[in-house]
Amino acid sequence: MQTLREYFPQLIVYPLNEKAITLQFGNTISANLLTQVTTVNQLILENPFPGLVTTVPAYSTLTVYYNPLKVYQSDLDGLYCFQKVSNCILSLNIPNSQKKITAQPPVIIPVCYGGEFGPDLEEVAAMHKLSVEAVIDIHSTAIYTVYMLGFVPGFAYLGGMDKTLASPRKATPRASVPAGSVGIAGEQTGVYPLQTPGGWQIIGRTPLSMFDATRTQPSLLKAGDRVQFEHISAREFKNYQAT
């Protein structure tokens, strides 16, 4: 069995403030880093130290929030809270037989493309000299990976979009983009969980709630999930909303 420190010799640890510590595993977007961040996140949550509050996984970092007073009063090894928490985390044992992460089937997100729901679909198609159908086909065939959540509640940063669809942001952001809007910005695609201002090219909309505070898991997606978009008609969209 190896400790976290031995297993990740390249790991950088720094304080975010007096209440949080960040573990940095690298500085790229990759499936490998996603696995590392997810594995260590689970390890910490399954072995909570005194004063642990919560964790925030991101592309290449994992941030751990704690209650400094509880850490200070604990018998964790170290002089300051930052040392106590980092010593404790870095000495966690990585299990030899790591749980095989069995690939879950992708979360299906129905999307009605174009029309009033996707006002920028034709512009995106023209930009890439593709038909509208081809854009829809490329966008709804790929399997995406949720790398992290951020920006607004329930917003998932998705990786895996076909680069032929990469499109610049709108020159002038819209003052209001409806919740459920599916957009493209650069090489990223994503779904707006809430009605917010936004500069992404909007190609469609899902009738699903990406964020609902009344659900046990309010965010539909979580880091590590796989996602696929499913092309639905305007009528099917309306039916979804009715149910």
Partner: protein, 330 residues
């Protein structure tokens, strides 16, 4: 106990100590902009730490007490008055039925916290009472308080709540001669905000970092509960790498693409992609929460260890303060 909002201030919301359990789903912490004042108002009443309070932004607000009530307020945004009678901050105050209490603007700061014995009775959403307007969650139906809103207090009272109610209740406004003051917490009103180096401080040209620590910065009009844009010298980068989105927190000072400082506050996003030049020491965040557009601030660097010691000291002082009140009355 019950009160009715006659006039909300520019922005009045219910807040508690924050929504910490859903950060990984990108739900912000929220909570008071000046958590020290919010906590002092609760401590003065013998409330628990979690009791929800009202955060008023500036004054020009008022409420009517529909039943006899015991309240406390703290903060720098307004002074409470009953007619022409000034009501002192930082202590329990008995208010007789049907009294109308007004909040008069104070030039000292921007936010005032009103606590009631037991705490305001609103439902929890995702383990917190805090209002977060962009997602319309928490507080009263996820929105800011409006004229006519009726707020009741929770019925579950602490022993100290009961003692204070019994000792102050009567026909007229009544309050004790003691108070729980901010100055006893080692916090002076100052425009010097202590900061620690940020994770990306080395991405900036050293003379820019020096300028940040020696120049004044002015809070712009583009400032709200999410964050403040600060006007001052342009901060120049020497490392132009793209920062992958990573965790940010209240007090994080980011540098935007045009070299402007952004100080993140209570409703800030859970993650951000601008490099972080500095981090405000938690003990000085209450000072930041009282700033208003046009105010000038200066930064002074301290070490992480120093910031942590100051934090522990502040928390222990708050615990002692609550314990002293308990010892005195129970």
């Amino acid at each position: 106990m019950q009160l009715t909002i006659i006039k909300p201030s520019v922005l009045s919301t219910i807040q508690d100590m924050g929504r910490w359990a859903y950060l990984s789903q990108a739900v912000p912490v929220s909570g008071p902009m000046d958590s020290l004042s919010a906590r002092l108002a609760n401590i003065a009443l013998g409330n628990t730490e979690e009791a929800p309070v009202i955060e008023f932004t500036y004054g020009a607000a008022g409420f009517k007490v529909d039943t006899p009530a015991v309240i406390a307020y703290a903060g720098e945004g307004a002074i409470l008055k009953f007619g022409n009678q000034l009501l002192p901050a930082n202590r329990p105050i008995f208010i007789p039925v049907d009294s109308i209490i007004s909040l008069q603007n104070s030039s000292r700061g921007s936010r005032t916290y009103l606590a009631i014995v037991g705490g305001f009775d609103v439902p929890t959403v995702l383990n917190s009472y805090s209002t977060y307007l962009p997602a319309q969650i928490g507080g009263v139906n996820g929105r800011a308080l409006q004229t006519g809103d009726v707020l009741t207090s929770k019925e579950n009272l602490t022993a100290l709540n009961k003692v204070l109610i019994n000792s102050l209740s009567g026909e007229h406004i009544a309050y004790p001669n003691w108070s729980v003051s901010k100055s006893a917490m080692g916090l002076q009103n100052t425009n010097v905000i202590r900061v620690m180096a940020g994770p990306e401080t080395s991405w900036f040209d050293s003379s820019s970092v020096d300028r940040m620590l020696t120049s004044g910065f002015i809070l712009s009009q583009q400032s709200n509960r999410m964050g403040y844009r600060l006007k001052g010298p342009v901060i120049e980068r020497i490392n132009t790498s793209e920062l992958l989105s990573t965790a940010v927190t209240m007090g994080t000072i980011q540098v935007s693409g045009n070299g402007e400082l952004i100080l993140l506050m209570a409703d800030c996003q859970t993650t951000g992609g601008y490099p972080r030049i500095a981090q405000v020491a938690s003990v000085d965040l209450p000072l930041c929460g009282q700033l208003k557009p046009g105010d000038q601030i200066f930064f002074k660097q301290i070490s992480q260890a120093e910031a942590e010691m100051l934090y522990i000291e502040r928390e222990q002082n708050l615990q002692k303060l609550a314990a002293t009140l308990h010892a005195r009355f129970l």
